[in-house]
């Protein structure tokens, strides 16, 4: 169960980071003019790429690209939907809401529904992982200090999410 959450964590972080990479490359040249373009599919992102923790290094680079960008003041919001990614836990799809180039909301459009265990993992893990992804991205942090965690506590820590995203 714990391992499953870990894997899911890196999957979602990968999804979000890869999506933000694809958005930010064109967005960095014409931020503002692409605002309010409505729903745009994150096409071209192969599901194997999106689900793979093996691309975390690439995703880490993407995040750093994203970190450089700051939202233009008063930028309009837009919604971007990723392609469906086949994960170990079934098909998943992520929808991002952006203000300028900053992710303000992450929504998982599809969840696994092929087993009680998967449901349980989703129900308990996804809101927390979304929060963590947003917290880490918005704060642009390298590491986290907090009350001493045990090795079990580490698995659900923000530091663990950072270690995986940057690995």
């Amino acid at each position: 169960m714990r391992r499953a959450i870990l894997a899911l964590s890196s999957t979602i972080a990968g999804l979000v980071l890869l999506l933000s990479f694809k958005i930010h490359i064109p967005g960095s040249t014409d931020a503002g003019t692409t605002a309010a373009s409505g729903s745009a599919a994150g096409t071209g992102a192969g599901s194997a790429d999106m689900a793979g923790a093996g691309h975390a290094g690439h995703a880490g680079q993407a995040r750093r690209e994203a970190r450089k960008a700051r939202p233009p003041h008063g930028a309009a919001t837009r919604t971007v939907t990723g392609t469906v990614a086949d994960t170990t836990y079934g098909p998943m799809q992520v929808q991002l809401t952006l203000a300028g180039q900053s992710i303000t909301r992450v929504k998982v459009l599809q969840r696994t529904d092929d087993g009680a265990e998967s449901d349980q993992i989703d129900a308990s893990a996804i809101p927390k992982l979304i929060n963590e992804t947003l917290a880490v991205q918005s704060a642009r942090i390298n590491a986290v200090s907090g009350a001493s965690y045990t090795s079990a506590g580490y698995r659900r820590s923000l530091q663990s999410a950072l270690d995986q995203a940057g690995a």
Binding site: N142, A143, V144, A147
Partner: protein
């Protein structure tokens, strides 16, 4: 000398389970060959200083079975650090928190600080070593950028309460969020519950860690005390969510 990273992408992250927690490293990828030596150090500390291992030097010394002279010389060094911290915190930092000899409150921070020094001695000038929530950082994660360390919110899991920035500095946090109330005020014998968490920043993790433990035991009035401690700054979250910090606390608004 090891070349400094040109881009942030050339970083290596490693998470090592040791000392009952996980120690996370963020170092230049080119420094990978140094890592095994640093990991060996941490596991040696674990074996030598663990109060949970019957045969560790600390356990045998604590039971009076092994004289200090026969222990690893690092134990005398740790005891010296403990004595200094006990004195400058007015006894709020102690090696006998529950009446039993246990220097663990200092050992983790001290061993992480030393891990950083081992990296530095091998020519690594940019690193962040995070020992279960207490960190020693050096240099910059990328050229021109300071380290940005999130302080975990003790009240909202997964959120950061504030962000501190710096180059060569340590960050230590004491709180009850992870393991429940476990820090005793040695002067009253009661569990410290005034604060949800206290964070101390300063040059050395050994000192910052011990100060964080002491400040948590002191409670809300630690702000006045922390303001007078030279070289170290404090940030605290109260159980009601309100926060306070000393005037020089290096949060990212500075």
């Amino acid at each position: 000398m090891i070349a400094q990273p040109v881009t942030a992408a050339e970083r290596l992250r490693h998470a090592e389970p040791v000392m009952g927690t996980v120690v996370s490293f963020d170092i230049p990828a080119v420094a990978a060959s140094v890592l095994p030596r640093v990991l060996r150090w941490l596991h040696w500390v674990d074996a030598t200083f663990s109060p949970y291992r019957e045969d560790s030097d600390v356990s045998r010394f604590g039971r009076g079975q092994l004289p200090l002279a026969d222990c690893a010389p690092e134990l005398a060094e740790v005891l010296g650090e403990c004595a200094v911290m006990r004195d400058i915190t007015g006894g709020y930092f102690t090696t006998t928190p529950g009446g039993v000899f246990d220097p663990s409150g200092l050992v983790k921070g001290w061993s992480i600080e030393r891990a950083g020094r081992l990296l530095a001695a091998a020519g690594v000038t940019s690193y962040c070593v995070n020992g279960g929530g207490d960190l020693q950082c050096a240099g910059e994660p990328a050229p021109g950028q300071p380290w940005r360390i999130g302080i975990a919110s003790p009240l909202q899991p997964g959120r950061v309460a504030t962000v501190v920035t710096g180059r060569d500095f340590a960050v230590a946090t004491s709180g009850s969020a992870e393991r429940g109330a476990h820090i005793v005020n040695p002067h009253t014998g009661r569990l410290a519950a005034d604060l949800a968490s206290v964070t101390i920043t300063g040059p050395r993790l050994t000192t910052a860690d011990a100060y964080a433990t002491a400040a948590f035991a002191i409670g809300d009035v630690a702000m006045g005390w922390a303001e007078r401690v030279p070289g170290y700054e404090a940030f605290a979250v109260r159980p009601d969510g309100r926060t306070w910090q000393t005037s020089g606390f290096p949060d990212d608004s500075r």
